[in-house]
Symmetry: none
Subunit: 204 residues, 4 copies
DNA sequence: CATGAATGAGTCTTCATTCAT
DNA sequence: GATGAATGAAGACTCATTCAT
């Protein structure tokens, strides 16, 4: 049985999806409340029943986007045990994220980067500090590489720097795909990237 | 002797620089013609003596930005002879671009990506097709790798894919730097990145 | 025993009180139906069970306010017998009104004046014609003064004009008090005002 | 010869007049920028060339209104020498203000009172603190009465209270006139008011 | 030529009113 | 009968663009 509370949450969720799609397609600054409302099938005024400002909508949309990504990644990482498997899992999780969420949604990434770099939006900075997110990613990857070194499978590289490189390649791949997805096979490229990095840091 | 034509060009150039800086700092959509005009030291109305629309201004600003990058890169690449040297030169050229143009200007990159991905702007698409730019880059790197394979220094890898990886690492590095330049040494990271990739594709 | 009808009237009354207070505090145009409903403890939609529009609410609130004032005045005037006593009673009744209803409620007066002057609101004009109210007040005071003249205690003044003056002093006192109640003792001022006016019109 | 500066000031002034009239007629809260712009014969956007917000417009309009009143009063008071003359001058100055500015403009007074009582508008509080204005008026009248007492023409009354009464009657008269100007002769009433007060406080 | 004053289309946001439950 | 979710008309404000000087 559905309660009113559930209904409201449901509608809010639907609206957030509409917002995500609109923002992904047109960019954070080219989207109007009106557009989103129409695409969500509700009246303009109704938007303000769920959110108190445009900024709040965007915050919610981005948080939802990040949340979905994290959920997919958590599933992937769960099964990985050895350091190489874990690194592969991180890489693959992004491939899966792209495939699961789809190209149209993934375009949101560019706005997330733009916000992270510009930081002009307090509302967004609040729900999601990109610097912090990147820092945490780097820590996780660093720890995995360190485990590999201690386990005698990776060379004694500078873990922080290598972690940075690893994550950079992931982002770089994403950009390439976003700009021109026809001209690349993301899965094949990711596999080769993994081999390359492994060869670069593994003990022969 | 300076002609009127020169004066006009000079003014236009100064305005484009002002536009570049404003856009880089605030983002394409948060910049007003008025702001740029003031910061360029001319009247708002005068802007329309040089450009016929806001879009055209941004097109010119981005073209100028890309042109500066190309100029720096051309100097670097000129001296490189062997395939590894050439790849290193491409990577280093980006480090030098970052250092030469500086953080504030480099933020323009995010808008270039956004435009490239969104392609909602016909005016910009006309002066600068990012897909095309990436395609050409990939061709150049592919050719270099191919030379390396033919010369017996690189393994017989899938050149297009490896070229994509190589360029992805460059972009990825740039993003990391743009998001949090304090927490990374771009030159050191680039060096290690190069070593890693080389180990991955070089014949032992 | 309370009937349904009584309950409804009760609710309506409570709502009107809430409306009075809200309007008095924030002003006619800065009050929302929602605010009043919340402060009255009922749902926004329920308001329209009792009133058909915002204007009607304000009409009812103002009528209620005027009614309360009249009730207080009627009690006062009831005991007065001689013309001077009657005039004093009118003056005192306003002091008592201020003290009984309190500052927060009395601020409604400014909106009543504003409406009376502007008369842009047909709904309000209908339930309460301020011109008419003032006209009647003037008639009453005129009659009292006339009685005094006929009784040989007041000079043969222009009764209508003096009545106007008398009422003007009452309003003026109220304004002073509304604007800056800390810097005046309304009772003391009223007493002195009465003496002054009496000296002005009484036969020595 | 008119300079640009003069032209701009001129236009601004004209706009302020239009704003004053609109506000006086419809009330502070029922006036839209659009209305004022149309009535001033300029475009909506142009308004923001002269003022940065609606509040600023109202602040300017009220300051202008108060300024005009002060100018008229200053002229009147200039010639008065004895205390009774001075009090008469103050009273007459208000009559002249009403006649000079006219009924339509004088309605602004009600909004000034409302603002003074509600004080919800920081922009307006800044340009004109009504409490302060009333305080100063009271000081001036007090001093005049005190002079009269010292000069042996007025009884030893409580000057502050009498000053309050005097000013209250002025305001009260204004309200009566604003609410129903047909039913009173403001000049005749003011004259009688003055006689009454004089009889009340003058030594026989 | 250069300018900035003028403009109105476009955007966010509020809120009285309606209506399905 | 009571409710609050939904709505769109209305209003403040921004800014690219035009144009008279």
């Amino acid at each position: 049985m559905s309660t009113k509370r559930d209904d409201k949450d449901e509608r809010k969720k639907e609206f957030i999806f509409a917002a995500m799609l609109e923002v992904a397609q047109k960019g954070l600054n080219n989207v109007t409340i009106d557009h989103i409302a129409v695409s969500a099938g509700i009246g303009k005024g109704t938007v303000y029943e769920y959110f108190s400002s445009k900024e709040e909508i965007f915050g919610a949309a981005m948080a939802e986007f990040m949340g979905q990504i994290e959920a997919i990644q958590a599933r992937k990482l769960f099964r990985a045990t050895t350091p190489p498997e874990k690194l592969k899992a991180i890489l693959d999780s992004w491939v899966e994220v792209s495939e699961t969420l789809g190209y149209e949604f993934m375009k949101l990434t560019i706005d997330i980067w733009a916000e992270g770099i510009r930081q002009g939006n307090p509302e967004l900075s609040e729900v999601m500090n990109i610097k912090q997110v990147y820092y945490e990613y780097r820590e996780i990857v660093s720890a995995i590489i360190n485990d590999g070194i201690n386990g005698g499978i990776f060379n004694a590289v500078d873990t922080k720097t290598v972690a940075g490189i690893f994550l950079a390649t992931v982002d770089g791949l994403l950009i390439q795909w976003l700009i021109d997805r026809e001209s690349m096979d993301i899965r094949k490229t990711a596999d080769m990237l993994f081999q390359t990095v492994m060869q670069g840091i593994s003990i022969k």
